[in-house]
Symmetry: C2
Subunit: 123 residues, 2 copies
DNA sequence: CAGTATCCTAATCGATACTG
DNA sequence: CAGTATCGATTAGGATACTG
């Protein structure tokens, strides 16, 4: 897939993971599903900013990648999504770590961006 | 920036981090810089698949976000890039964790993708 | 409700050529 | 060497309307 990446395994492997999270809403949906099974409409309501279409694409992609399981209840015909074991290991491990990092360092990132913007407009 | 995200802080905060890594080569360059200061042309050679232009954009963006520092040696006029403290905390922390996760779970992801592809083409 | 189909805009990425 | 400019192809994402 990205076999042409490079030298140390993890340098290249990280591409596999970041590709999994590359689409804007993939990581957000994974985070949202950490608390348990959710229905499509619940996700649509709780994730401000996702469009109907994009959420569909996101869910389909997450299912395709084996991170999320689509559950059809035969009794009342409802559909729900939940993290697979694989998805859970990603969401509760590295993804959560990324979230914590973001919380701790957000101010530094925003500061750097502002400074850059300021110096750029000063040119 | 993405203040309109949502309920639990980390659900939204993760967007800040994934946005930082959203562009294909951002995480790869960060990983490559973990081993120390590198010159632009070295990166271009060691990262198979990056185009000249995209590497430039990537480096500029990483510098803008405060993750990478651009170093100009006044003596011999060379230019090099290295991780900032902020970038190091990301690359050696959560990003490395993501790399390890990818190494351990790559086969599962690829398997899921293949199965999905197989069932999709069987329809 | 879940999910798909269309249309449209903006942004990425690659290739190539060019400047300091 | 570092870095920018331009063109073209591809794609992501939003809005909206429609089907099972």
């Amino acid at each position: 897939m990205n076999d042409d990446c490079q030298p140390f395994v993890t340098d290249c492997a990280v591409r596999l993971a970041t590709d999994l999270l590359a689409h804007t809403w993939d990581p957000v949906v994974l985070m949202a599903l950490r608390t348990g099974r959710r229905r499509r409409i619940d996700l649509l309501a709780s994730l401000t900013g996702v469009s109907d279409k994009v959420l569909s694409e996101t869910l389909r992609r997450l299912v395709s990648n084996g991170l999320v399981t689509r559950i059809t209840t035969t009794t009342d015909r409802t559909v729900a999504y939940e993290l697979s074991e694989l998805g859970g290991s990603l969401a509760n491990g590295p993804l959560a770590a990324l979230g914590h990092w973001a919380v701790e360092h957000a101010d530094q990132v925003l500061l750097a961006q502002q400074q850059d913007g300021a110096s750029a407009s000063a040119r």
